[in-house]
């Protein structure tokens, strides 16, 4: 529908991906517009990570085209910064050096890097921890470093692969709120994978529901909930309606994947 004229940042055209005889993604087409916060939900194993990996250039589609900012990429594309569930911090680097890693790769001088990194250290609330090593940080703080590390590299797209899944509920909530703030400030295009429908509803501007393997898009919903999405919004009729709607199709797909596996 959003035809050829749209300035999509990410464009999937009939993308399929198979690993040997296993078909992970089947004929997926969709666009992500600049500034959208798209949350992808779906049963585990339905190809969500595969989609993100292909956008980042870690993997190539077996069929179809993936364009990022109008171009196909054959290798890893640092314009799509990835935040991993397992943080993937460099344990031998301090918080500051982790955050400045991308800047170092760009050839910035040490002084420039430090100054630049400081901005993001403060953005994610890690002032005072500049010289700490990851081993000394809690899970929530580590994920903050990972987010700042990607932000500092100023990508046009941010990819999140279940980033808060390993955190406790309280920490998760705090980080969700911070992420919304960062999104509102920075207006990055974001793709975010989660298992939690609540997380999807809290964060997204749009929710994509995937089918069981082979993954296809079964629902594509604009999330029109008002901001800030506080307790009041979470008890509103519209919230419950959306949640029921999404839960219905996710549940159907989870059942299908369980039956498929049996």
């Amino acid at each position: 529908m959003e035809g050829l004229t749209s300035n999509a940042v990410i464009r999937f055209s009939d993308v399929s991906k198979s690993y040997g005889s296993l078909l992970a993604l089947n004929d997926v087409s969709f666009n992500v517009e600049e500034g959208e916060f798209v949350v992808i939900v779906g049963a585990s194993g339905c190809g969500k990570s595969t989609m993100l990996n292909m956008i980042a250039g870690f993997d190539q589609p077996s069929n179809g085209r993936i364009e990022v900012q109008g171009k196909e990429h054959s290798g890893v594309n640092p314009q799509c910064g990835m935040v991993f569930q397992q943080y993937a911090l460099f344990p031998w680097m301090t918080v500051e050096d982790n955050i400045a890693f991308g800047l170092k790769m760009k050839g910035q001088s040490k002084a420039e890097r430090r100054q630049h990194a400081q901005e993001f250290i403060e953005m994610v609330g890690l002032r005072g921890f500049e010289k700490a090593y990851p081993k000394a940080l809690s899970g929530g703080m580590r994920q903050r470093v990972a987010i700042a590390r990607v932000l500092a590299n100023s990508p046009s797209v941010m990819l999140f692969d279940e980033p808060f899944a390993a955190l406790d509920a309280m920490t998760r909530q705090v980080l969700q709120e911070e992420l919304v703030k960062i999104y509102e400030q920075q207006r990055k295009t974001i793709l975010f994978i989660t298992h939690s429908i609540d997380e999807a509803l809290l964060l997204s501007s749009r929710i994509v529901v995937m089918s069981a393997r082979p993954g296809r898009i079964v629902q594509d919903i604009q999330n029109d909930l008002p901001h800030p999405r506080n307790a009041e919004v979470q008890l509103s009729e519209r919230y419950v309606e959306l949640k029921r709607h999404i839960w219905g199709s996710v549940q159907a797909e989870v059942m299908r994947s369980i039956e498929g596996a049996a």
Binding site: V76, P78, C80, M82, F90, W92, F101, Y133, P134
Partner: protein, 272 residues
């Protein structure tokens, strides 16, 4: 007796067996010291009272006397320094080649396939077996000693480094590439530091091997060094010189190990 918590008495469960705590630092040191003194005393006594012929094993006091004598003559440290220097040169040379090459081989399947036959051939060769060739190639000078240490420790070091690179979490490589790291950056900024703990523990083992290499080289052909000291002692039936040489080897290896450990702690302060 210490008072047990009240609950313990009330519960019907059998009391946990009381575990003896680890021996604390200071008392461990005292125990070790006493044991050391005891061994030396028994040894000294056994020689003094004629249970052991000094020709087969001289008393500790005789060894100390020999050490004092050599100290006065100014030859003692010469031997220690000669051997230590040879170990260091050979070992550093071997590491300087083995670490970059090992990281390169560890990350490139093609180059691994190319080098594998050579490495498989070199690995089982004991350093001693290189002595004749090295004498032929380098004569009996210092470079021959370096080459023995190098040949003895290079192939195993290389294998240690390659093995260490295999243990690197591929997610870290992915994250680095995602942040713009090119192949060279991945090797220098990720693979090297990530495998450094493993590489260092490999090098610690290699340092021991390097000492074995240098001593064997000195036993065969040398004019100074601890291996030479032992061999020379044997020629003149000076068993105290022989044992002194052994004691010095042991002490020097211990000292280098302490230095190495301190270095390791500094380099790996990010480890848990």
């Amino acid at each position: 007796m210490r008072a047990e918590p009240a609950v313990r008495g009330a519960s019907s469960a059998p009391p946990l067996p009381r575990r003896r705590g680890p021996i604390a630092g200071a008392s461990k040191l005292i125990i070790s010291l006493v044991s050391c003194i005891l061994i030396i005393a028994v040894w000294e006594g056994a020689v003094r009272f004629g249970f052991i012929q000094p020709l087969f094993l001289p008393a500790p006091s005789q060894i100390v006397n020999r050490a004092m004598l050599m100290l006065e003559q100014g030859t003692l440290f010469g031997h220690v320094i000669a051997s230590t220097w040879r170990v260091m040169v050979g070992f550093v040379l071997a590491s300087c080649v083995a670490i970059p090459l090992g990281i390169f081989l560890g990350t490139s399947a093609l180059s691994r396939a190319i080098f594998d036959p050579v490495l498989s051939f070199l690995r089982p060769l004991p350093s001693m077996s290189w002595i004749p060739l090295s004498l032929l190639w380098f004569g009996i000078g210092e470079s021959q000693k370096y080459s023995i240490v190098f040949m003895g420790s290079f192939a195993p070091s290389l294998l240690y480094v390659m093995e260490a690179t295999k243990g690197v979490d591929p997610l870290l490589v992915k994250a680095a590439q995602n942040l713009g790291a090119k192949q060279k950056d991945v090797m220098l900024e990720v693979i090297l530091p990530a495998s450094l703990p493993q590489i260092i523990s490999g090098l610690k083992v290699m340092l021991g091997i390097a000492w074995t290499c240098v001593i064997s080289a000195e036993l065969v052909a040398a004019r100074e060094g601890l291996g030479f000291l032992i061999m020379n002692g044997k020629e003149y039936f000076q068993t105290d010189t022989v044992v002194l040489g052994m004691v010095l080897i042991s002490l020097t290896v211990m000292a280098t190990d302490i230095v190495f450990r301190a270095l390791e702690r500094r380099i790996l302060k990010w480890k848990d």
